[in-house]
């Protein structure tokens, strides 16, 4: 495998969680940037809707917190399998993403109304 990336260093600090850390770093970075640019309301709407969507997927897949516990020993007393991915959750995930895309486009259009020409002319320094 490829080695030497920052995620590798982080996986040494928190073992077996490189994938989740990678997702958290990317998502957190974009979220921080969006808020730093002053789009607090859009960030809030995004976090709320994505959390609700993920909760729905979590429920449909049937995930529990136990699924996130590493199982590294092959023995009967440690036997546990998480629910595997089926076509239903995949379909729901894709549909939710499509709905979020078009909902976000609609909401953004409402939040960022273009300034009417008369007002723009009045507030313009020229």
């Amino acid at each position: 495998m490829l080695t030497g990336s920052p995620v590798d260093w982080l996986t040494k600090v928190v073992p077996d969680e490189g994938v989740l850390l990678n997702a958290v770093i990317l998502l957190g970075g974009v979220l921080l940037f969006v808020m730093a640019r002053g789009y607090f309301l859009e960030a809030l709407i995004a976090v709320t809707l994505v959390s609700l969507g993920f909760a729905l997927i979590w429920r449909i897949v049937g995930l529990t917190m136990r699924d996130f516990t590493p199982v590294t020993i092959v023995a009967d007393e440690y036997f546990y399998k998480p629910p595997y991915l089926d076509l239903g959750p995949l379909f729901v995930c894709v549909m939710l993403a499509a709905i979020f895309f078009f909902a976000g486009r609609f909401i953004q259009g409402r939040l960022r109304q273009p300034t009417p020409p008369a007002i723009a002319a009045a507030i313009s320094p020229d």
Binding site: V7, A23, R37, V61, P70, A97, F100, F102, R105, Q108
Partner: protein
């Protein structure tokens, strides 16, 4: 498999493969990256988080790793993460990042996160099956 089953099966796989060009096209179509930044952000976040969780629950469980029933977790977990990174990078354009920098961030994220390694492995196994040792060892 019956004819109807085959049609459903092929429709599913073709639809899933079409997601990638559709994701890339969404950066120009339906308002583009600037007018649909929030949409890209939300869809990308959902894909990234879902994909990471689908992939993670299989990776940390040795019994799941030995079971082919979890193959979808591997394939679609990384695929959704791949789509999520593209959408998040596209969303950055709508929030003021220059397109070339967003594209660079997308590539860097994919490489450093090793999100594309699985697909590279698949492509190597298909096109050059004798030269994949460096990926599997």
């Amino acid at each position: 498999m019956s004819l109807v089953g085959q049609i459903i099966n092929w429709s599913f796989w073709i639809g899933m493969l079409l997601l990638l060009p559709l994701t890339a096209a969404s950066l120009w179509l339906w308002g583009g990256a600037r007018r649909a930044a929030l949409g890209h952000f939300m869809a990308g976040a959902l894909f990234l988080v879902s994909g990471a969780v689908f992939y993670f629950v299989r990776v940390v469980n040795v019994f799941a790793r030995m079971d082919n029933a979890y193959l979808y977790n591997d394939i679609f977990g990384l695929y959704f993460m791949f789509l999520g990174v593209i959408l998040l990078a596209g969303a950055l354009v709508g929030y003021g990042v220059p397109p070339w920098l967003a594209a660079l961030l997308c590539v860097v994220s994919l490489v450093l996160g090793r999100i594309g390694v699985f697909w590279l492995w698949i492509a190597s196994a298909v096109f050059a099956p004798t030269y994949v040792d460096w990926l599997t060892c």
